[in-house]
């Protein structure tokens, strides 16, 4: 290592002169005068290490070192840099210390592959000697070749440390280092300058080419070669620079492979999987658009703002959120817009968001609505006609049956069983049918009206327990059989939930004062109430402590399925045409007791099964702040039995 150090100094003059003479003799060399200065510097790099590189860089950029790089000498340099033990030239690794503005490290390689081996070797030798800073290149070409070996070795050690970048496609490193042929540098070098034949690829280079060809092969199944895959993988890692890449290597591997085979779709075509999302977004966009009625419409809207039936969902949602119940604010807002749409479409007097019922495939959003006076829809009347038609058919069937039986000599005993009389359903706007209910599956979808509920449906609904699927026309398969489809079952459940759980603080509602109500109703109690203007609010602690401070403000549903008692036998007598004797005998058995339920505005403390109700388990510290506000929320009802919303 120490030998070359004094050498550079006397060299500057000689090589330059000699090189200039040699220039015309080399076909690809264009060494210019300034170069020797650099060549002096170059050999110093092994000793000074990277510190010299920057200075070299400056020098190099000023001169046409580019020519130098294009020449084969560089190949030798690169090769030297690559192999720590030996200097044989093979394509590939750039010489880092000389990598100062060299445009392409690959240039030497093609040159090499083109077959100008002989010239390249000569030049490489010259270069080596330049490194050494020794004398005439020609002279050293032959003689000092072997002497330069140890120096090469020393230089290679230094270069090895600077080797950071790998030329593409050359799997060097362990492969090359383990190649036994590399150990024998002298012998290899020995025949290099002496072969005058057409250069055959060297064994190592051949090995490299073989390896690369092997990696580049693709199978019939896939068009991705391992070589390309590794390139992609390493490029990805270097670009993304994840932390701890070794631990996620396998996943990255898998991802890269997948990306190759599943490229992103064409930008012109929509992603088919996201279609429903876009559709839903389009539909909901309609919610946010105001009705385009023009100038008049806008003025009308301003006037109607005070009278609008749309409830303030966001406010109630805020209070529910304080209690830990409720939907996200985003969903609440969409529900608000959907209700607004409903109010615009139907003649609605008051509207309230009743709640959400979860179903198997879809959910239901329920709105409780009261129509304006006299605005009964035609749908209701059609439904009633159908029912009456159905009832009219039955008596005919009975008469025909009787005639047949009389003809037969053996009188088959008539069955004693008569189907229980159908309890008539309640009028609209009273009892269980006090409100109309509209449902939709998602905000943005059209609202569907639910039919009125019949007492029979309520009675049957009490006996079964089924999940909702989300489709209103789905049949309910159960035992005892439910008369109706999912829409009816839903309506029945809504009626039961409303009757059982709608409560308000004591005193918020009061009875309107009308005398003689109790007697007329036959003990069924009043069924109307109004807001109490003098209500002052009850302190929260009292509300939480005792159940007596909360009252129901919906009518209790009797076991019959109605809110007001109706004796089914009364109607039956009017319709009877058969023998009276039997009827009279039956009457004695069928006396039905009048059913009585707790009157309206009964406090919760009177509820049966009080263990099922909890005293506002969610009462948090924020509750005192919100509920003692002077402004009362318009509907101060809470549903502590929230799990019932499952059904």
């Amino acid at each position: 290592m120490g030998d070359p150090s004094p050498d550079p100094e006397p060299q500057p003059q000689q090589p330059s002169s000699r090189r200039s003479s040699q220039v015309p003799q080399r076909r690809s060399r264009e060494l210019s005068l300034p170069q020797p200065s650099i060549s002096e510097e170059v050999p110093q790099t092994p000793f000074d290490g990277p510190a010299m590189q920057s200075s070299q860089g400056i020098l190099a950029s000023q001169t046409n070192l580019q020519d130098w790089s294009s020449g084969p000498p560089l190949t030798a340099q690169e090769n030297l840099a690559m192999y720590p033990t030996e200097e044989a030239q093979l394509g590939g690794v750039e010489y880092p210390s000389l990598n100062m503005g060299f445009p392409s490290e690959l240039q030497p390689q093609p040159y090499l592959e083109e077959g100008g081996m002989q010239a390249s070797r000569n030049v490489s030798l010259m270069l080596q000697q330049l490194q050494q800073g020794q004398g005439s290149l020609f002279q050293q070409l032959d003689s000092t070749y072997l002497e330069t070996q140890p120096d090469y070795l020393g230089q290679f050690n230094m270069y090895q440390g600077e080797d950071l970048q790998f030329d593409q496609g050359v799997p060097h490193g362990p492969y090359m280092r383990d190649d036994p042929t590399l150990q024998y540098s002298p012998s290899e070098l020995g025949f290099m300058p002496f072969s005058a034949e057409v250069p055959e690829p060297e064994p190592r280079e051949l090995a490299v080419q073989n390896a690369k060809a092997y990696l580049l092969q693709t199978s019939a199944g896939c068009s991705l070669s391992l070589y390309e895959h590794l390139v992609n993988l390493l490029t990805k890692i270097l670009n993304q620079r994840p932390e701890d890449p070794l631990s996620i290597l396998e996943s990255l591997n898998r991802t890269t492979q997948r990306e190759w085979f599943h490229p992103k779709l064409d930008t012109m075509r929509d992603d088919p999987e996201l279609e429903p999302t876009y559709e839903m977004a389009e539909r909901q966009k309609g919610l946010f658009l105001r009705s385009s009625a023009g100038g008049e419409g806008e003025q009308e809207m301003e006037e109607e703002v005070a009278e609008t039936a749309v409830p303030n969902i966001m406010e109630t949602a805020f209070y529910f959120e304080q209690a830990g119940v409720g939907l996200s604010s985003d969903e609440s807002f969409r529900i608000f817009m959907a209700l607004k749409q409903l109010v615009e479409q139907q003649p609605i007097h008051t509207c309230r968001f009743w709640g959400k019922i979860l179903g198997l495939s879809r959910n239901y959003l329920v709105a409780e609505v009261e129509f304006r006076e006299g605005e009964e829809e035609g749908e209701e009347e059609e439904v009633e006609e159908m029912m009456e038609g159905g009832e009219g058919l039955d008596p005919h069937g009975e008469e025909e049956g009787e005639e047949d039986e009389e003809k037969v000599t053996d009188v088959i005993p008539k069955p004693m069983w008569r189907p229980p009389p159908i309890v008539p359903k309640e009028e609209s706007r009273s009892g269980t049918n006090k409100y109309l209910y509209f449902v939709c599956n998602e905000p943005g979808r059209p609202w569907t009206r639910l039919p009125h509920v019949t007492p029979l449906q309520i009675v049957q609904a009490r006996k079964i327990k089924k999940f909702f699927t989300g489709y209103l026309d789905a049949p309910i398969v159960s035992f005892p059989p439910f008369p109706g489809n999912e829409a009816n079952y839903l309506r029945a459940q809504i009626a039961r939930i409303s009757a059982a759980t709608h409560i308000s603080p004591l005193g918020f509602y009061q009875f309107s004062e009308e005398e003689g109500d109790e007697e007329e109703e036959g003990g069924a109690g009043r069924d109307s109430y109004e807001e109490n203007p003098d209500f002052e609010g009850i302190p929260v602690l009292e509300l939480v402590d005792s159940m007596a401070n909360w009252v129901h403000h919906t009518q209790h549903i009797l076991p019959q399925g109605r809110c007001t008692w109706v004796n089914p036998l009364q109607k039956l007598e009017e319709e009877e045409e058969l023998g009276e004797e039997e009827e009279k005998a039956d009457e004695g058995v069928e006396e039905v007791e009048q059913e009585v339920g707790p009157p309206l505005l009964t406090p919760l403390s009177e509820d049966a099964e009080s263990s099922r109700t909890s005293t506002l388990a969610g009462a948090t510290s924020t509750v005192p702040r919100t509920s003692t506000h002077p402004c009362q929320p318009p509907f101060s009802m809470s549903t502590p039995a929230a799990p019932t919303s499952w059904r």
Binding site: A323, S328, R362, N363, P643
Partner: protein, 293 residues
Amino acid sequence: MDAESLLLSLELASGSGQGLSPDRRASLLTSLTLVKRDYRYDRVLFWGRILGLVADYYIAQGLSEDQLAPRKTLYRGRGRKLGNQDPGDVVGSLNCMEWSLLPPATEEMVVQTSVLKGRFMGDPSHEYEHTELQKMSEGEKVFEEEVVVQIKEETRLVSVIDQIDKAVAVIPRGALFKTPFGPIHVNRTFEGLSLSEAKKLSSYFHFKEPVELKNKTLLEKADLDPSLDFMDPLEHDIPKGSWSIQMERGNALVVLRSLLWPGLTFFHAPRTKNYGYIYVGTGEKNIDLPFML
């Protein structure tokens, strides 16, 4: 759900109607961070809330590096500290940031508490009284005697949480992977399920040690990837249809709800990393499930 993405997760899981009030959310964020530091957990999950008559329980779980190792469960009641004789303010004491560690569940606990029905009270020291007929033998006589067994609510809480975990805790396929050495790790390159996968029950697994995996035929096992498919999928749960799978917001969110333990909601936004499950309910199993379907 992961305590780190608590707010977003609560937002996504809010479709079931039960959530947390803002003050609870805020206190949870801070207290869960402290739990993670104190107990040195790798991940802390907010498991959910069990509603009781008087008070609710907030449950959290801590996971160590190996995701399938037995999890430590912590709970937090309201207004009472164990061992502290203060009556506790029912109107919510926000200083109740203390989490207590629950003992791990054992078989006997589960058997013992299977007789208890009804809602939770909300007080961990509440004792249920259950009368059992036990056969006592005195000499040669064998007679039955009624024995009143006292079971603490804490035990019941432990067994219920354990049952829910074993039955319905869900994780999407690909979120965890198994290393050749055995431990299970979180998959940092999990990019979410694709939409077509998200609609199938087979892409979701039970978050527990596999039970049915070894019963699969070789043909089925050939299609599985051992680093990803090492847990039981939801597909073969009995009874069939005990999971309700819905897409919300168009196709932007998948929500799975268990019908066996009503109140358990699992959500996942396809093509993103967000997923999680939370249980908010009364802690009662729905034994009428086969009739309700």
